[in-house]
């Protein structure tokens, strides 16, 4: 009799536990086929020309997708204004509003783990773009992706623009004919991996290409046009008639250097090269302010970011939609452009 009561108690307890688990899983798993998706995008700085171009292209992709598939896309794009705390709050908001996927242009790549942890807790896939988190962080979860351009390739293409010009006519770069090409360098950010790689490989390509280089000076302008302009103005005062080439980690800074030359009324044909191929940079090429730039296909860039986010939002297999390197990386194509 006592044994029967014991067994009955165990059965009741087991049934209660199973019921609880079943109830919960049915609530969470009972999803219908999605007719709309919500994607949050957070930008490290909305006033960066390249990021702004990318933003516009991502919005275009979302509209195209909506028209093609009939699946409504609710996309919110927010600007972190260079503040990691702001970006963390934006991600928290996306999570609390039940977004299906987020695209993050992270402010500080070294603290991506914070966002990754939150996203993992909320089962929210993350597509990082343009600013790559460290590999250790990227390996933490299979629903983390990175879309960007190969910084080394950008730098080599940029360096080759100048190597080709030098080979064609050394005096086009060596303006004073002293046998050396004197350059100044405008770098993006301190300890930013793209900035470091772009600088290193651009210079290395020039050296490998046989261009006799002499560095006058350099500065960190944080990818920013006005900061670059301020640096250039100062260098033109400190080293009058010495600067022959300005090597910049992006187009905005290249245009900033051109602004300073224009303000000073400098008529010597200083060669300025940038990277990104932003609309402003291309306009600079057209008007002769810039000598060359490296353009990455921003349509393709935006397309891949959006495709991954949309596929994850719908629970599709991303690998079948986008060909990824190591299951999570995508590098966009690039090409060198010159004024000629």
């Amino acid at each position: 009799m006592k044994k029967r009561y014991g067994i009955l108690a165990v059965v009741v307890i087991l049934l209660l536990t199973l019921w609880g688990v079943f109830y919960q899983s049915r609530r969470e798993g009972g999803k219908e086929e999605k007719k709309s998706i919500r994607i949050g995008v957070t930008l490290y700085r909305g006033d960066d020309s390249f990021i702004n171009t990318l933003r516009g292209n991502i919005e275009e992709q979302a509209k195209e997708y909506e028209k093609e598939t009939g699946i409504k896309v609710v996309m919110e794009i927010v600007d972190a204004k260079g503040n990691q705390n702001t970006q963390n709050s934006q991600v928290d908001r996306f999570i609390s509003l039940g977004y299906d996927a987020i695209c993050v242009n992270i402010v500080d790549r070294s603290v991506a783990s914070n966002i990754i942890s939150r996203a993992m807790d909320a089962s929210l896939p993350v597509v990082f773009f343009n600013r790559e988190p460290v590999e250790e962080d990227m390996r933490r979860w299979e629903k983390l992706y990175y879309v960007g351009e190969n910084a080394k390739e950008s730098a080599i293409l940029q360096g080759n623009i100048l190597v080709d010009a030098y080979k064609k006519d050394p005096s086009s770069l060596d303006l004073n004919g002293d046998g050396k090409v004197s350059y100044v360098l405008l770098e993006g950010e301190n300890s930013h991996q793209d900035s470091l790689i772009r600088t290193e490989w651009s210079i290395q390509t020039l050296k490998d290409g046989g261009v006799p280089l002499e560095k006058i000076t350099g500065g960190i302008a944080n990818w920013d046009r006005s900061q670059a302009s301020a640096w250039m103005e100062q260098w033109l005062l400190e080293y009058p008639d010495e600067v022959e080439v300005v090597i910049c980690n992006n187009d905005d800074m290249a245009l900033g250097a051109a602004d300073a030359l224009e303000r000073k009324g400098n008529l010597s044909p200083v060669k300025i090269v940038g990277i990104d191929g932003t609309p402003q940079g291309l306009e600079g090429l057209r008007t002769g302010k810039l000598f060359g730039t490296v353009q990455c296909d921003s349509q393709e860039y935006a397309n891949v970011i959006f495709k991954i986010a949309a596929a994850e939002s719908l629970g599709q297999n991303v690998q079948e939609i986008v060909k990824l390197d190591r299951d999570k990386y995508y590098e966009c194509r690039q090409k060198a452009l010159t004024a000629q």
Partner: protein
């Protein structure tokens, strides 16, 4: 094992199960849910680039009133039919309320009149006859045009013609602004030319035409943000244009336009508080969802500003609102 011990073990197991159900499921304790109101803001443009301050205001209200705001833009520029379809789609998809910034005011109001809306709406413009639209929020567009005309008249000689640039009089409330501007300039004895953007290069061609010998100087008044932005870009692109254009004036207050005012590319601007417009549109939408909104037309104040006014605290608060 005694009977008491067995009972104790059974009770302990029971407590463990209850604790499990309490902590891991919402079977016993239901999580208190905050009601979130989905509100869709349907912008009469293909992007929200010109709505930065408006968005800041809307986002602030969204946090305060538990609103999930979706900003919806058009696929094609100037497509009023599509905008109305988007209103219907958003309501059909469960929006508690919609905020409409009409792409073509006359056409949108006409289309809204024929519709039955299942959710309340707030209009960024004049209050239409449809009872489902609970509130209209906007500056007095005609007054803005008049204010711009009076400023131009006060700062320029009537001998110089005024060229009025617009993306089109049928867009937004451009017709009202135009009427106000024309009335003020006519009173002051100015001659005027209207340039509606029919093709990509309309404004550029008009400005380039002034550079030729024998051409006279002109004042340019751009009555909407898009045309003002484009004109400022053209003028800042070449110092030559600055010599033939006596002054560029306009209506609108994006960060870029304010920068152009600071750089003296633009001489004067008529502005209104876009942050307040965004905030109030969400606030009124929530009131309408609760059914406590009386049909009202809110008129926003407009101001004429020049470069010197940019640093005044009153205008700093309006023009550069903090997120």
């Amino acid at each position: 094992m005694t009977k008491q011990e067995k009972l104790l073990w059974t009770l302990l197991a029971g407590v463990l199960v209850i604790l499990f159900l309490l902590s891991s499921t919402d079977l016993i304790i239901k999580e208190k849910k905050t009601e979130i109101y989905p509100v869709s803001v349907i912008i009469g443009d293909t992007s929200d680039d010109y709505y930065v301050n408006f968005r800041k205001g809307a986002d602030k209200a969204a946090v305060e009133y538990n609103v999930d705001v979706s900003f919806i833009t058009l696929y094609e520029k100037g497509d009023a039919n599509q905008q109305i379809e988007l209103v219907q789609r958003e309501i059909g998809d469960g929006a508690s309320a919609v905020v409409l910034i009409p792409v073509k005011s006359v056409e949108c109001v006409k289309r809204l009149d024929d519709m039955v809306l299942n959710s309340p709406a707030v209009m960024l413009g004049s209050l239409p006859p449809n009872d489902q639209v609970g509130s209209g929020i906007s500056p007095d567009y005609e007054e803005e045009g008049r204010m711009l005309g009076q400023a131009i008249a006060a700062e320029n000689s009537p001998d110089i013609p005024v060229w009025i640039f617009t993306e089109g009089l049928e867009f937004g409330y451009n017709r009202e602004s135009y009427d106000g501007l024309v009335s003020a300039l006519s009173e002051a004895g100015f001659s005027m030319n209207l340039y509606e953007k029919k093709a990509e290069g309309t404004f550029r061609e008009a400005i380039e035409g002034m550079v030729y010998p024998g051409s006279k100087k002109a004042v340019v008044a751009a009555i909407d943000v898009r045309s003002l932005d484009e004109t400022a870009d053209i003028i800042s692109g070449s110092p030559v244009y600055g010599n033939v254009i006596e002054g560029l004036y306009g209506i609108g207050s994006t960060t870029k336009l304010l920068k152009e005012l600071d750089n003296e590319i633009i001489k004067g601007l008529v502005v209104s508080d876009q942050f307040d417009a965004g905030y109030m549109s969400i606030q009124k939408a929530v009131e309408a969802v609760h059914g406590g909104l009386q049909r009202t037309q809110i008129i926003l104040d407009s101001y004429y500003i020049r470069k010197a006014n940019l640093r005044e605290s009153k205008f700093e608060r309006i023009l550069y609102p903090i997120d």
